[in-house]
């Protein structure tokens, strides 16, 4: 008898779970990366201070993006594999947030050797980026790879066997105005990005 109750309970939980998924409701967003150290102290995770150069040749730091929601990905212009797909989704996000004023996009190149500022500038122009809204950032390779792996939790590494010489994730990351990670999606999956765009709108709503 107990078994039947468990089965019914399981079915109810499953149905409730499924229905909340299918509606695509977005609840309070997590603070991704917050953790407790062995001594029991809570560690608040946020992106470390940085200083890079954008496609306009301007020096930018975390202060540049203060009080902005940021949407971030990692790429390189001569990437033969996933980048075109992810770039198309970043462009879609740019077009959605174009009039917001408090949302910016950042694409970090993992290949500063080939991606000079003029290359980034031309890439940005040809992709249809708004230079004020969408920054393509160049910095020392090791710094970019470190920030990707340790702060954004997206894998990025130089690998001569990978297409184009770099292996990196196609994740797109959402940061709030305090540079804390609040969400991410798979830039290879348009459905995942659709949900992500709703998450951006939800996050904006929490500041109103």
């Amino acid at each position: 008898m107990n078994k039947i109750y468990f089965i019914i309970l399981g079915a109810v939980i499953l149905l409730v779970g499924l229905s909340s998924c299918s509606k695509g409701d977005i609840g309070p967003l997590p603070f991704i990366g917050d953790r407790v150290d062995p001594d029991g102290n809570e560690i608040i995770h946020k992106i470390r201070p940085f200083s890079f150069t954008n496609q306009n040749g301007e020096q930018v730091t975390n202060a540049t993006y203060k009080n902005k929601i940021h949407v971030v990905d990692f790429f390189f212009t001569s990437c033969p594999s996933i980048c075109p797909y992810v770039a198309a989704q970043m462009k879609r996000i740019q077009d959605h947030v174009a009039d917001y004023g408090d949302v910016m996009l950042i694409s970090h190149t993992v290949d500063p050797k080939r991606d000079s500022i003029p290359v980034l500038r031309e890439y940005a122009e040809k992709i249809g980026a708004n230079h004020d809204l969408w920054h393509f950032l160049r910095g020392p390779k090791d710094d970019v790879i470190e920030i990707a792996n340790e702060d954004y939790f997206v894998a990025a590494l130089e690998d001569e066997d990978a297409p184009g010489g770099f292996d990196h994730s196609g994740k797109i990351i959402l940061l709030d105005k305090d540079a804390k990670i609040r969400g991410f999606c798979d830039g290879m999956d348009p459905e995942s990005v659709t949900q992500f765009i709703k998450t951006i709108d939800y996050l904006r709503g929490t500041y109103e």
Binding site: T77, Y85, G164
Partner: protein, 86 residues
């Protein structure tokens, strides 16, 4: 993107591409060696030098079938072209 329309001016559209209407043979070296930066563009097109003849053949004939005039490039032509690639 899946419909072959590319993205902006950075990833050219395959729909109605001139290469797919009468210039199929030029695709072999374009795919193999990509395109380096020039006075026209600093952004490079990556090379796919790892692709074998049969893979290039499949790729070109797929492109032709999907977005071109459905003409076929025989593998013998691809073999000849590869010899001439930079």
């Amino acid at each position: 993107m899946d419909d072959g329309n590319g993205l902006g001016q950075i990833y050219p559209s395959l729909q109605k591409s001139v290469y797919l209407y009468g210039k199929l043979d030029e695709l072999t070296c374009l795919i193999r060696t990509g395109r380096q930066s020039s006075h026209l563009s600093t952004v490079v097109m990556p090379s796919f030098s790892n692709l074998r003849e049969a893979e290039i053949s499949n790729l070109i004939n797929y492109l032709s079938h999907e977005w071109g005039d459905q003409s076929i490039l025989p593998i013998t032509s691809i073999r000849e072209q590869i010899e001439t690639c930079p």
